[in-house]
């Protein structure tokens, strides 16, 4: 194998699994250390910089970081159940414990105005996370950002569809407020029904962040009767939020297996549904809902039934009586493609009083005229540059669910960042695809022979459980938040489970004396000195086999004996024992910093006064 080029920042970035997996590349280990140090404001600000909504995401994020977390891999065959660090819930700890004066510190960290930026007017359609993130990046630079929103207040899907028992309204008000207070204009109660008209208002750029607002319906027999008892999930959730729906029938069927279905069934449990079933076409494991959302629903007495395809609604004496389902099975064809087929078992009937259809969301752009130079693809989605989010009408950019279909909040935020960078370039007559390099740094953590400036001890604890409000309270009051968040002491313990993957093992081959001390001491058998070979060959003959091909091998140039040092990054604990046992300092633990650059920063990151940067 060729020696690893650690000068490429993406090499070490990838080792920080959580940050690599996060669409917004939040500096996770760094903020977890800040939480452990009790520096909640700094932890919050570090989050706010990348993901803009720490309090909201600390409760509702899809947390792509957690399945990626190295802790989940190193705990394999070590104890009961391998679990990642509770990254998402630690984020909430930073939000819960931040101090009141944080807005002042936010402003101190913002980049400075760009002279002349105030000449440009930018319109955002929809006040959801994508538009808000974009506004957060552009307003401080001096751009005039106006957000048009059909509802009265900002927040979009986060406010109207995510139920209050998962996300209290005060959290949304605060975090949306931080952005609007930056001088962003929110025009509420104004639905944009024509892009042409908006273009005629002479905005310099338009950002479409309107989400995927249409819930998919299910056109099966019986759908058109008793329509007041058969609802499309996201519309029903919005009605619950606006108070139009205050109760639901005793027996409720929720169709669909995604997170919206989970929000529907849990909301139904709180509005009088005491027999709530989620009925899904495919298997339990293939359901789109996050594992923890399924667990939470089941914990609240929701029954999940799988492999049942809805066939028809049945109405008796003018009332909705129930639904028929066809039992399904899966089959893989020769190409490994999965198909769902009916089994020979008889259809099954389930009684119900009300049905919530949560089988997906669709994008719909009936308000975008087709002659504006804005092209759509065969699926009715806008044609976009995946990097810049720019449409074929150079003035119009997309982001969030409106761009590539339903994703999640954290993706919407990242789209907002990227679109903001593009719009900034576009307005400054620069190359729209230009991206300033990330801010990176690699600094030794060695303070003494056995002293590191990070806590390298490995906590043996298993993942801590977030406490819940009692069921009697949560199931009777839809506004009662279920999760109570970690207390500070538990948060500290959970933070100790983090392996500090951003503190990198850096090898300098010239001073290695090949004493084997690192090989001997490594608890995870990560390090091998051996003859070089191609990757597949090397992976098979390391101290411990490197079977996880998604994780890189760190290969050195040949050392004195002609062998190479190969380190499998897969299950490294970043405990620093290799560096501690190294007599020559050929191994060193160096903290790697990787910060994405946002609009108007990056070319000259020092525009942010140095003393106001967070150290951790």
């Amino acid at each position: 194998m060729q020696p690893t080029d650690i000068r490429n920042p993406q090499y070490f970035h990838k080792v920080v699994d959580c940050q690599w997996a996060c669409p917004a590349h939040t500096q996770v280990p760094r903020y977890i250390r800040l939480i452990a140090a009790g520096r909640y404001d700094d932890a919050y600000l570090l989050n706010w910089d990348s993901n803009v909504f720490p309090g909201i995401l600390g409760r509702t994020c899809d947390r792509p970081c957690e399945p990626a977390c190295r802790r989940g891999r190193v705990e394999e065959s070590n104890g009961e159940k391998p679990e990642p660090v509770a990254i998402c819930r630690l984020k909430r700890v930073a939000a819960d414990n931040r101090s009141d004066g944080i807005e002042k510190r936010m402003r101190e960290r913002l980049p400075e105005h760009i002279p002349g930026a105030e000449r440009f007017r930018i319109a955002c359609i929809g006040a959801g996370p994508a538009s808000l993130a974009l506004a957060r990046d552009l307003a401080p630079l001096g751009y005039k950002v106006t957000i048009f929103e059909a509802d009265a207040r900002g927040g979009g899907f986060m406010r109207t569809q995510v139920p209050r028992f998962r996300l209290p309204e005060a959290v949304i008000d605060e975090e949306v407020g931080y952005i609007l207070d930056l001088g962003v204009e929110l025009v509420g109660n104004r639905r944009i029904d024509s892009l042409r008209k908006l273009l005629d208002e002479n905005f310099d750029a338009i950002f479409v962040g309107c989400g995927a607002p249409r819930g998919r319906d299910l056109r099966i027999p019986g759908r058109d009767e008793n329509t007041d008892k058969i609802h499309v999930g996201i519309e029903w959730l919005a009605s619950v939020y606006f108070g139009h729906v205050k109760q639901v029938g005793r027996r409720v069927i929720v169709l669909g297996g995604g997170n919206t279905a989970m929000d529907c069934c849990r909301s139904a449990r709180r509005l009088g549904g005491d027999d709530v079933k989620v009925i899904v076409r495919s298997g339990y494991d293939e359901m789109k809902a996050s594992a923890w959302e399924k667990e939470d629903a089941e914990h609240e007495g929701v029954e999940i039934l799988n492999w049942l395809n809805p066939k028809s609604f049945v109405h008796e004496n003018g009332k909705l009586a129930g639904m028929w389902f066809t039992p399904m099975r899966e089959e893989h064809d020769a190409n490994g493609k999965r198909k769902l087929l009916p089994t020979s078992e008889p259809d099954r009937f389930f009684e119900c009083d009300e049905v919530l259809i949560a089988v997906g969301q669709e994008n719909a752009f009936p308000w975008i005229e087709r002659d504006l130079g804005l092209e759509f693809d065969e699926w009715g989605m806008p044609k976009l540059d995946k990097l810049t989010m720019q449409s074929t009408n150079p003035k119009v950019f997309f982001g969030g669910d409106a761009a590539f279909g339903p994703k999640n909040i954290i993706w919407a935020v990242e789209h907002g960042h990227q679109a903001a960078a593009s719009i900034h370039n576009f307005l400054q007559k620069d190359d729209v695809r230009k991206r300033p390099p990330p801010l990176t740094n690699l600094v030794s953590q060695k303070m003494g022979i056995h002293e590191w400036s990070y806590d390298n001890d490995i906590s043996p604890d298993e993942r801590f459980v977030v406490p819940w409000a009692p069921k009697e309270k949560t199931l009777t009051n839809i506004h009662q938040e279920v999760e109570l968040g970690f207390d500070v002491a538990t948060a500290w313990k959970e933070a100790q489970r983090c392996l500090n993957c951003d503190v990198q093992t850096v090898f300098t081959k010239d001073i290695c004396i090949e004493c084997d001390a690192c090989v001997d001491v490594c608890p995870m058998d990560c390090i091998t000195f051996t003859a070089n070979g191609d990757e597949a060959d090397l992976r098979a003959r390391l101290t411990a086999p490197a079977e996880n091909a998604e994780q890189d091998l760190y290969v050195s140039e040949p050392v004195k004996t002609g062998r190479v040092m190969v380190k499998d990054e897969d299950v490294c604990l970043h405990c620093g024992l290799c560096a501690e046992r190294c007599p020559t300092g050929a191994w060193d633990m160096r903290k790697f910093l990787f910060a994405e650059s946002y609009a108007g920063r990056g070319e000259d990151y020092s525009a942010v006064p140095a003393k106001k940067k967070v150290a951790a």
Partner: protein, 351 residues
């Protein structure tokens, strides 16, 4: 020296051996020796060898004297019996322990100071008597604990870290072991586990006095230019006598090597040593030839490593003394107190 205990977490694919242990189960406390010490690699090799041989840790006794090397039994096999003796007296205590309980595996861990200076009288007699043990000398040529004075195994002409030249002739422990009748004699290098681990496995399976001299650089005091026991010097002058594979009696023998090149040595417990690339001139069953080869290499300035001599059928101390075939602690009251009639008979035999 490391303050952090080694985390208990281990690689997910870590295997268990036939007696149900992982390699990590054979570890001890974390080493407090200097970072990079060769001794730590020897500890790791002992751990690896014991795991591969499916040895039950509680059937091992590790004995040592005083010095850096003699600290190391703390760093491996924490579930085994241990005895840290007075300086240089490990061989005597080991001999006594072995006489009382012949059913354990005895690891005598010593250094060049402990064995070639203060304990040399003990060393020669334990070897001479054929005590069934693995005598490991972790040989770095200096007194590391007292800041690097030359030890008795330092080569004439080698330089200390401060530049002083050693004028004394070295004690050649391998030569002594051969001459004193050790039935398994080998030398290896802490920096070459692919050679050291099979040698340790073969020595542990050998019945009789096994002597293994392991060159083990002292990173703090003897790893500089002018030293003859530094990592660089040993790597440059290492003359590996042969490649050895150790095949325990249980393993199916499947070594794909042309038969002409492999020499087999079968030990009493059924284990087989496969010696490859052994020069035709060398016969591991010939004690005199081994001594000659050793000295010839030495004269050429080479450090010969590998298995030099083995007598797979050698008798040990118990055979010499015709002792009871089982450990004393398993003898019953009748065997231990055979009665006044037997005593009278013994007394009569002494008149």
């Amino acid at each position: 020296m490391t303050y952090l205990p080694k985390p208990k977490l281990h690689h997910p694919s870590l295997q268990r051996n036939r007696v149900g242990f992982t390699r990590r189960d054979y570890e001890g406390a974390i080493s407090t020796l200097c970072a990079g010490c060769g001794h730590d690699s020897i500890s790791a090799a002992i751990i690896q060898a014991c795991w591969e041989l499916d040895i039950e840790p509680h059937r091992v006794a590790k004995l040592s004297g005083i010095g850096c090397s003699s600290k190391t039994p703390t760093y491996f096999l924490s579930a085994s019996h241990g005895f840290n003796t007075v300086h240089g007296r490990m061989p005597s205590v080991l001999t006594g322990a072995n006489l009382a309980n012949r059913e354990l595996l005895y690891l005598g861990i010593s250094g060049d100071g402990d064995s070639a200076s203060i304990g040399i009288g003990q060393f020669v007699h334990a070897i001479r008597r054929g005590v069934d043990m693995v005598y490991i000398v972790e040989n770095n040529g200096v007194y590391g604990l007292t800041k690097g004075q030359f030890s008795a195994t330092a080569d004439q002409g080698s330089k200390s870290k401060k530049g002083a030249v050693n004028t004394d002739a070295p004690v050649d422990m391998v030569g002594m072991a051969l001459q004193l009748g050790a039935s398994f004699v080998a030398r290896s290098f802490s920096g070459d586990k692919s050679q050291l681990v099979p040698i340790l496995k073969a020595a542990m399976s050998h019945k009789g006095a096994s002597f293994v001299d392991v060159l083990s650089p002292c990173v703090a005091f003897n790893n500089h230019e002018g030293s003859t026991k530094s990592y660089d010097f040993i790597r440059e002058h290492n003359h590996a006598l042969c490649r050895m594979d150790f095949i325990s009696g249980r393993d199916e023998i499947t070594v794909d090597c042309p038969p002409g090149e492999v020499r087999e040595v079968r030990q009493h417990d059924g284990s087989v040593l496969h010696l490859r690339k052994l020069p035709d001139s060398h016969d591991t069953a010939d004690r005199v030839a081994a001594m000659n080869y050793l000295h010839a290499c030495q004269a050429r300035g080479e450090i010969v490593t590998g298995l030099l001599y083995v007598d797979p059928e050698a008798p040990d101390l118990h055979a010499h003394l015709e002792t009871a075939p089982i450990a004393f602690n398993t003898l019953g009251e009748r065997e231990l107190c055979p009665g006044s009639a037997t005593l009278a008979k013994i007394n009569a035999g002494l008149r």
